[in-house]
């Protein structure tokens, strides 16, 4: 039997989620209700959070915090988050974006979870509240590595530094169906520059491994370089390091490997397609 608990506070929800492995947080419903409709989730407790803090954003300053219950539509309505709009717009159609949350996207299985790819490139901290204690920040890579184990508590928010220049952050989702299609892959790049040279870039891929992954080879290839044809060529050469793409209904592993360097090169070169 499936039950629903509505929690007026984050602490109450975190307490239930930490203590009951049969409890599942329901945010926008776009992941959990699919499981219910398909008959894969038939028992346990769906935990709803009605605490307004779950849907708050602090996006005006250098450090950005987005509540886990904030929807993609809310991100798109926030001008301070304009650099993230391409990533938010990549999620579903308008109705899905009204419902799908930033926190939920962290749990979307590949080839979904495009917004998480952007958060990985932005080096986000995932704020997790376990039990009735206060939340603590976990680096997103650590969070993704532990995601399948579950039982971590409640994701309450994500935090990250605003890119110094909006143009430092780039995102691209590649899909066969336009404007809405499932990811063949997605690529996010944070390319801070100092004195015209790339400094500490972060590149992330979606749908190129079981979870979003960083392209460390590309990051090494770009470090200290100006973003010219030579650097982009070197980045393309290193593009596949760490990739373990799957063959699915959208594309074969072979195809994903073949086209990734092409799309990465276009993203770095600032080409439209």
């Amino acid at each position: 039997m499936l039950d629903v608990r509505s929690c007026a506070s984050l602490s109450e929800a975190a307490g239930i989620l930490s203590g009951d492995r049969q409890a599942h947080l329901i945010g926008g419903g776009t992941l959990v209700m699919r499981e219910v409709n398909e008959g894969r989730l038939t028992s346990g407790t769906l935990v709803r959070v009605t605490d307004p803090a779950f849907r708050q954003m602090s996006a005006g300053g250098a450090r950005i915090e987005i509540g886990a219950g904030v929807t993609m539509a809310m991100v798109l309505a926030n001008r301070d988050l304009a650099f993230l709009h391409p990533a938010a717009r990549a999620i579903g159609g308008p109705a899905v974006r009204t419902m799908a949350t930033v926190g939920g996207n962290l749990f979307a299985q590949t080839p979904y979870g495009d917004f998480t790819v952007a958060l990985l490139a932005l080096d986000a901290q995932i704020v997790v509240q376990a039990g009735y204690s206060s939340g603590r920040g976990i680096p997103i890579e650590e969070f993704l590595a532990a995601r399948e184990r579950g039982g971590q508590g409640l994701v309450t928010a994500v935090q990250f530094a605003r890119p110094q220049n909006a143009g430092d952050f780039r995102f691209r989702k590649i899909s066969r169906v336009k404007p809405k299609g499932i990811s063949l892959m997605s690529i996010a790049a944070l390319l801070p520059a100092a004195g015209g040279r790339i400094s500490q870039p972060r590149i992330a891929y979606g749908a190129m491994a079981p979870t979003p992954v960083r392209a460390r080879g590309v990051e090494r290839a770009l470090e200290g370089k100006t973003l010219d044809a030579g650097a982009i060529h070197a980045a393309r050469q290193a593009a596949l390091e760490g990739c373990r793409p799957a063959t699915d209904a959208i594309a074969s592993e072979w195809y994903r490997r073949e086209v990734l360097p092409v799309h990465l090169g276009r993203l770095l070169a600032g080409e439209e397609r």
């Binding site: 499936l2 769906l46 159609g93 009204t98």
Partner: protein, 166 residues
């Protein structure tokens, strides 16, 4: 399991129902309240046939808990016509043969209505984006896009902001 009472406004009328806690809004609308405009399609959020407006925003009723709609405004395609007088979008769909089997039509009308309510003069690309979460498998998208653009240009639709013109 005990039933949970839920109340909301459906197409301008106060409605109440007793629902199972994990019941979807779609189930409540169809089985509980007899509004058969929204359909069950994929159950995954991919097809858009269950789309309704919740407080004016398109939402997938097959993925929405009924209890989360307490006190909210729900609008479906059933509420668009004013008696025998069709909504400009419905008239345009008819004029452009934008419905063949009709299964996707309520969802298409609903997302189109949401689009025109916030953007009375959309571009073709904006219409394509608005219906991008709705799948049509027989009519083809071009008549649907043409119908929405035509309705956007109609004075009645502009006056009503694409919403209920009653």
């Amino acid at each position: 399991m005990a039933k949970v009472p839920v109340q909301f406004r459906l197409n301008g009328s106060d409605r109440a129902a007793f629902v199972d806690a994990p019941e979807t809004l779609l189930e409540t609308l169809r089985r509980g309240l007899g509004d058969f405009a929204p359909k069950y399609g994929c159950g995954q959020g991919a097809c858009g046939v269950c789309t309704v407006l919740v407080d004016g925003e398109p939402q997938l009723s097959c993925l929405t808990l009924s209890i989360s709609c307490e006190g909210r405004q729900i609008e479906t395609a059933s509420g668009m016509a004013n008696g025998p007088e069709l909504h400009p979008l419905q008239a345009a769909f008819m004029d452009h043969f934008a419905a063949q089997c009709g299964f996707c039509t309520p969802g298409m009308l609903t997302v189109a209505r949401a689009l025109l309510s916030r953007n009375p003069n959309p571009t073709r690309d904006e219409v394509v984006e608005a219906i991008s979460g709705n799948i049509c498998r027989c009519t083809g998208y071009e008549p649907i896009i043409a119908a929405i653009l035509t309705a956007a240009g109609s004075p009645a639709s502009r006056r009503a902001g694409g919403g209920n013109h009653a």
